[in-house]
């Protein structure tokens, strides 16, 4: 393998047939280039999709009320379903094993004022568990706690943008800000990596807002996370049970899709991962097909080379070359061309990705890149491809009868 003479011979054939070597190598290099670019693109799409979801817990489930579309249990169609505080308690009690965090949400809008600055923001009134469900990151202060909810405290956790808009250079913590004329104390500031808009929001205790809006028990939706040890099947099974139970409780036809929505992130993730898996499959498939064309090209050239060198191989055999030595020579040459040109293709793809990849940061496509496993796989594929391309020509070469070299008159 590391025999100087063998390499000398390989280099010599390649050197005397530069154009031929280049053209053959190009087909394989190009194939690998396309394969890597395709895989990187799929990776980019995957990164884009996952990036859109990653600030929410991936095991979250949302329950939203709707309006019934079917008559059921003596009620007419078109009835509005209203969730209440006790729905949260009910779910918590019914699924003690399944539910990890649970929080009600109450939506409101607030015109906020601090000194001379005003702004209009959306307020989510929530329970303390909500922090874990939304993966809210605090840059200062604390989140809403149980005591705030019990005391119906007028406290607020404001987004970074809100803090910038209203407080400018001042430290908002502990200051009072007016929401629709009512003073709320700022207890925390949150940030959101992916989304500036999310930082224009405000969190307040659910009980506080329910009292402000007429001592109601109404809530707009329920957000929860299920046991993170659940796999997809268990997760989906849980959300089905949850949906059945909630529909029964609110007397919604089990078949009624409009009355009550239970949205499980797992489903969306399932869809995305099967989508990207299919894309990846297509990418690999197309790449392989192109690679096969390249392999056939190399095989073709090798057959040609062998034909050209029939006499030389015959002489070698007459001088005592064993068939295996001839096979090795041909295979090594084939693997060498394939690997070298493949690596050039890989390198080009990698350089382009490294240079341009970080420029792609759209929601649907971000940072296309290849990882080590792709590179290792490509290398193994190349070596196998080289062997495959050289196999038939090598056998042909090994079967050359030395007699051919003698009968040259």
């Amino acid at each position: 393998m590391f025999d100087r003479d063998v390499w000398q011979e390989i280099f010599n054939t390649l050197k005397t047939n530069k154009l031929r070597t280049f053209l053959t190598g190009f087909s394989v290099g190009w194939a690998i280039f396309i394969l890597v670019m395709l895989l990187a693109s799929v990776n980019g799409m995957q990164n884009g999709f996952v990036g859109q979801f990653n600030d929410d817990a991936t095991n979250s489930v949302f329950v939203r009320p709707g309006t019934t579309s079917e008559a059921y249990a003596g009620f007419e169609a078109g009835r509005r379903i209203q969730l209440k505080n006790d729905d949260v308690e009910y779910i918590k009690k019914s699924f003690p094993e399944d539910v990890e965090y649970i929080s009600a949400r109450y939506y409101a809008n607030a015109t906020a004022r601090y000194k001379s600055e005003t702004g209009s923001y959306s307020v989510q009134a929530v329970n303390p568990d909500h922090q874990a469900i939304e993966k809210t990151l605090l840059s200062a202060g604390r989140y809403i706690n149980e005591a705030d909810v019990v005391n119906k405290a007028k406290v607020a956790v404001i987004g970074r943008k809100v803090a910038e808009d209203l407080f400018k250079e001042e430290d908002p913590l502990g200051k009072f800000v007016e929401f629709n004329g009512l003073p709320f104390r700022v207890i925390g500031i949150f940030t959101d990596d992916g989304d500036d808009n999310a930082e224009r929001g405000i969190y307040a205790p659910i009980s506080t807002y329910q009292r402000i809006y007429g001592n109601t028990n109404d809530i707009n939706m329920i957000a929860l996370t299920y046991n993170p040890t659940y796999d997809l099947t268990k997760a989906l099974e849980f959300s089905r049970r949850l949906e059945d139970l909630m529909k029964r409780r609110h007397k919604v036809d089990p078949e009624d899709q409009a009355g009550l929505y239970v949205f499980n992130y797992a489903e969306a993730f399932e869809n995305i991962s099967s989508f990207t898996a299919v894309l990846k499959g297509i990418g690999v498939g197309v790449g392989f097909l192109i690679l096969i064309a390249g392999i056939v090209g190399i095989g073709n050239i090798m057959v040609f080379t062998i034909k050209e060198r029939t006499k030389e191989i015959g002489v070698r055999k007459a001088l005592g070359a064993r068939p295996r030595q001839i096979v090795n020579l041909v295979l090594l040459e084939s693997v060498f061309i394939t690997s070298l040109s493949g690596f050039v293709g890989l390198l080009f793809a990698w350089i382009i990705l490294a240079a341009l990849g970080p420029m792609f940061q759209t929601p649907a496509f971000s940072n296309p890149s290849v990882n080590a496993s792709t590179v290792i796989t490509a290398t193994i594929i190349l070596i196998i491809a080289g062997v495959l391309a050289g196999l038939i020509p090598a056998m042909k070469a090994a079967n050359v009868k030395p007699i051919v070299a003698l009968s040259d008159k």
């Binding site: 006499k311 030389e312 002489v315 055999k317 001088l319 005592g320 064993r322 030595q325 090994a398 007699i403």
Partner: protein
């Protein structure tokens, strides 16, 4: 050294079979210089191919240096060829991208002789055919006679039991032919066994024995008075 008993060989030509060798019996002692003569189609090349283990016989016995040569695998045949035989071809068959020295060293490479020793040995044989100054030259830079001398050095390098020369002067003019024959005679003088296939009378008479083939049988086998090639050089 070589012993052949009742050797038969036929080739299939479509539906007919062509009986090329029809019972050859023939013995070569160590140190002999034998010319095998015959017109084309007489079977002399076939005989040489069988002697060179490049082709198998249909029936009969072939013993080389007391080793029976029969039913060899490709690998075994390659080993025996490398160990027992040196080939000299009409068209030299040097490898055109290798220097004279590398060409001579090639059989040693297949004997797995280490690189350095290989080079030394090859240089020694190149010196013996008088081409030491041309060691680094490619075959394309050598004349026909020089190429054949390189080929002879290559055949000698593996130190075989028998040298098989197939029309070694076929592609050379008469002066160069005599130079090559002179070299072959000198190698024979050192005790090497050599078989020369030729159809040229003068070349045959520079050997010590002539075996005449006609239509697949030996019609004549005689010892002759050797004509030294030296006097024509």
């Amino acid at each position: 050294m070589i012993e052949i008993k009742d050797l038969h060989k036929s080739y299939k030509m479509g539906s007919n079979s062509l009986h090329v060798l029809k019972g050859i019996n023939f013995k070569v002692e160590e140190g002999e210089l034998v010319a095998i003569m015959g017109s084309s189609g007489s079977g002399k090349s076939t005989l040489l191919n069988i002697l060179g283990m490049l082709d198998g016989a249909d029936s009969g016995e072939y013993t080389l240096d007391n080793v029976p040569i029969k039913n060899l695998s490709e690998t075994k045949a390659a080993q025996y060829r490398n160990k027992f035989l040196g080939f000299i071809f009409q068209s030299f068959n040097l490898i055109n991208y290798k220097s004279a020295l590398e060409n001579v060293a090639l059989p040693l490479y297949y004997q797995k002789v280490p690189r350095k020793e290989r080079q030394e040995k090859a240089m020694k044989y190149l010196d013996r055919v008088g081409l030491k100054p041309w060691a680094a030259h490619l075959p394309s830079e050598l004349s026909g006679g020089q190429k054949q001398r390189v080929a002879i050095a290559r055949a000698m390098a593996a130190e075989p039991k028998v040298l098989l020369a197939d029309e070694p002067t076929g592609a050379l003019d008469s002066k160069t032919s005599y130079e090559v024959m002179d070299l072959i005679q000198k190698i024979n003088d050192d005790g090497n066994t050599i078989l020369v296939v030729t159809h040229e009378e003068d070349i045959a008479h520079m050997c010590k024995r002539i075996v005449h083939l006609k239509d697949g049988v030996i019609v004549e086998d005689k010892k002759i008075e050797q004509v030294r090639a030296e006097q024509y050089v």
